[in-house]
Symmetry: C2
Subunit: 452 residues, 2 copies
């Protein structure tokens, strides 16, 4: 009997008109539907037809100042995912929630509710937020410092998991005759009092089907990777090349044993932006057409923001002003992304304009133009050479980029024996091949049972 | 031509197994489905079949210590209402959100998202929260003081409406050819800096169909009524008798001109808990059966909590210990409700046990047992004598209490010419007969247009 090949997992990163920054100008895109729930229903159903493990909504709590040139992000994740739960059956529903600008009780409860509504399909992309566009909607001081954000994230997660663990599975008695609805000894407050949060508990919802939502993380800095190793079950990451992907993969997997976790307990999902053509030439033409729609004003803003320096006064066709750029240590927003952009520009010798174009399709994630077969081969290579356990699919434009992937690439993956031909699990965690969430050390308290 | 009779509005107060505290023990109830979305879908569709203006979810952010004797409240409102939006077409969807334990940016955005998802059917029950069961999940000090909560509510509402007003209707240009997605001069930050919140804005969602969700309020204290007069378009209220209802109605309507508002700009909806029988005797039997299922432990806890004194050491069949009870001024939780309970007990000369029973069906709201015709007559009387513009229907047990109402009482209301026979509007606000939300004074700022 042939040895079964390693199976890949697919998450759809669902973002209004797609991941190329000019996607909204693509002839087939529908930017006027960026806040239309029925538009997302259709895309979610396509992903489900493609047997994706999950779909994912990113999030930020502010309007980017680039709205003149860039389509809206979309609807709010908890409301949209709950709506999508009703319109789909099997696909996982991963929402982003920031630990910097939320209360753990609210977030724990909303994920529990979403998991109950969806029958065990909720996932949480745990982020610490990345900019003042968000921060200034909550406080005057702007974004808290990077390491403080991660300390807060750890405490936040302790509280959330403590709340989810607070109910024993058999706490609900529901005996109409005796009049006992629940056994209060099986529902414990957490009595949490930490540096950032005071939360008594217990949660006002019973255990959700998955016990915890699938825990997802996407930090790329040292602190971010340490956090992922502690808590994440799936990791989104931006890797611009196979080599970079392998290095990240090896690095993250090596961190797991320190937390008593096996390598297969975390699925690493690099972002992947495929431009699909029936021939290689057609794919290249499609890529070129997208490039011609990109706008310098937007690209410059995006790069300047990420690299921490206003680039608009430098010659577009000259090199990056390396000497003037801040060091990674000084970057407070996305340290990991800043480093990757510098690596790309240096190793490929890119001008400012070239870096802009190179990152326009998916902000630096792995991107390629090719035929369905070439794309499936590249995915298989990342899988087999230890750069990925699957992919965070970032179609350059929607709906076509997703339709093409599902209709043309998925069969190629299946033909290679590396992708499912039917769902076998029911819950999101089962799709990723696991049965239980990670063990996250409980907060101090939790002795006193609940008493009226 | 006969003069058209005043039309009544109906809101379904959707609460797990129903409003009688023993409803979960009722033979026809399904307490094991209190967190099952499909259970709520079915009820929402029944209410829609009954042409209700809206359904409403109350909320608190904590588990009551009475969980031993009392069914769970249900799912989280934003997630559940978004799910229900997908399963219904016309009925309004009102969710509760507290201004004491939330950030205005998050709440403004979630309601905008819900309104977009539901096609203009969102409503916001603005509450300030009522107890430490909630408060201790956010802070050590417990519930902030009553008047501070309302000051915070006013600022919160200023911020939220400011965010909703920040986008002009035609801000989205979406011109693929020129590459202009939006006109940044038509999207303004609010630059809010107040006593409680700092919020830059703008919102990252375009105007919702209704511009604001329908604004609903339920405070009964002086401060609460002042707030309702300023901002509410619908008011939920607990009134135990026609007389009390008339007094409240007159009081609230008289406050409106001070804010430049006409009496018809606010719909007053007293809670109403009908126990429906095909004969009066059958209705009384049903009521009696429910009474027999109530539990003293729970009822005593509930009364003690509301009145601010542990009643468990007093004889159940004796009077309330009036001399020992705290004054309304000392009550920090629900001043209005405490006063109503004392009024009821005094005016009807009730013992502790009698007050418990009298308030078991709906916590003091107007309740009656009768035939469909008697119930419709009572509703018509409240409508015509100036005690109500409609009702907040609180079925004692579900699903039967709602089925009976829709199948038997609704036709009686229609036969009396006081209730619609088909939906005419599309949005929730249209159901309540209005076209625009109230004008709420804008926060200080809002000059600088958004710039990249
Ligand atoms: C695929 C992907 C998706 C992300 N989605 C979000 C998001 O929705 N919201 C957010 O605030 N940050 C998001 N991030 C950013 C990271 O979660 C992380 O907060 C950020 O990179 C800063 O952490 P770092 O300095 O450790 O990299 C995303 C990153 C990646 C790679
Ligand atoms: C029908 C009705 C529903 C209510 N729903 C809620 C609720 O869901 N959550 C909440 O915290 N308070 C709720 N309340 C309480 C009021 O909103 C208000 O906060 C409370 O009565 C305290 O204000 P007061 O002292 O002005 O009455 C409700 C009140 C009524 C009459």
């Amino acid at each position: 009997m042939e040895r079964a090949r390693k199976q890949l997992h697919l998450n759809l990163f669902l973002l209004s008109t797609g991941h190329h920054e000019a996607s909204w100008r693509h002839p087939g895109s529908a930017p006027e539907r960026a806040v239309d729930v029925h538009y997302y229903v259709k895309l979610a159903r396509t992903a489900e037809r493609g047997l994706f493990d999950s779909l994912f909504l990113s999030d930020a709590y502010g309007l980017p100042p680039t709205i003149k040139y860039k389509v809206l992000h979309g609807l709010e994740p908890f409301t949209l995912l709950s709506a999508l739960a009703m319109a789909t059956e099997r696909i996982g529903l991963i929402g982003t929630a920031s630990t910097t600008f939320n209360e753990p009780y609210h977030i724990a409860r909303k994920f529990a509710s979403l998991d109950l509504i969806s029958g065990g399909r909720a996932g949480w992309n745990i982020v610490t937020s990345t900019g003042n566009t968000t921060a200034l909607n909550f406080r005057e001081e702007g974004l808290p410092e990077h390491s403080e954000r991660y300390r807060r994230a750890e405490e936040f997660l302790q509280v959330a998991t403590g709340l989810w663990d607070g109910w024993e599975r058999d706490a609900l008695v529901i005996d109409k005759d005796s009049g006992v609805y629940a056994d209060p000894d099986k529902i414990r407050p957490i009595l949490h009092k930490g540096a950032y949060y005071t939360v008594r508990g217990p949660l006002n919802l019973p255990p959700m089907p998955q016990r915890y939502p699938l825990l997802v993380q996407a930090g790329a800095s040292e602190t971010g990777k340490a956090f992922a190793a502690l808590a994440a079950e799936a990791v989104f990451t931006a890797q611009h090349s196979l080599e970079a992907g392998k290095a990240f993969y090896a690095d993250l997997k090596a961190r797991l044993p320190r937390h008593g976790r096996a390598p297969e307990e975390v699925s690493i999902l690099p972002g992947f932006c495929p431009i699909i053509g029936d021939t290689a030439a057609e794919a290249r033409d499609k890529e070129q057409a997208l490039h011609e729609l990109t706008q310098t004003e937007y690209g410059l803003y995006r790069l300047s923001n990420l690299l921490g320096l206003d680039l608009s006064t430098y010659p577009l066709d000259g090199p990056l002003p390396y000497a003037e750029l801040p060091e990674t240590a000084q970057i407070n927003s996305q340290k990991g992304r800043q480093q990757m952009f510098l690596d790309m520009a240096r190793s490929e010798g890119l001008s400012i304009r070239q870096l802009m174009m190179r990152t326009a399709s998916s902000r630096g994630h792995f991107s390629m133009a090719g035929t369905p077969g070439q794309i499936a081969d590249a995915m298989a290579q990342w899988l087999e050479e230890g750069a990925a356990d699957g992919f965070n699919l970032m179609p350059p434009y929607l709906p076509e980029g997703l339709d093409d992937f599902v209709d043309k690439v998925v069969p190629e993956l299946q033909a290679r024996g590396i992708y499912r031909t039917a769902y076998s699990g029911r819950t999101l965690r089962e799709h990723y091949g696991r049965t239980a969430p990670p063990r996250i050390a409980a907060p101090a308290a939790a002795q006193a049972p609940l008493r009226a």
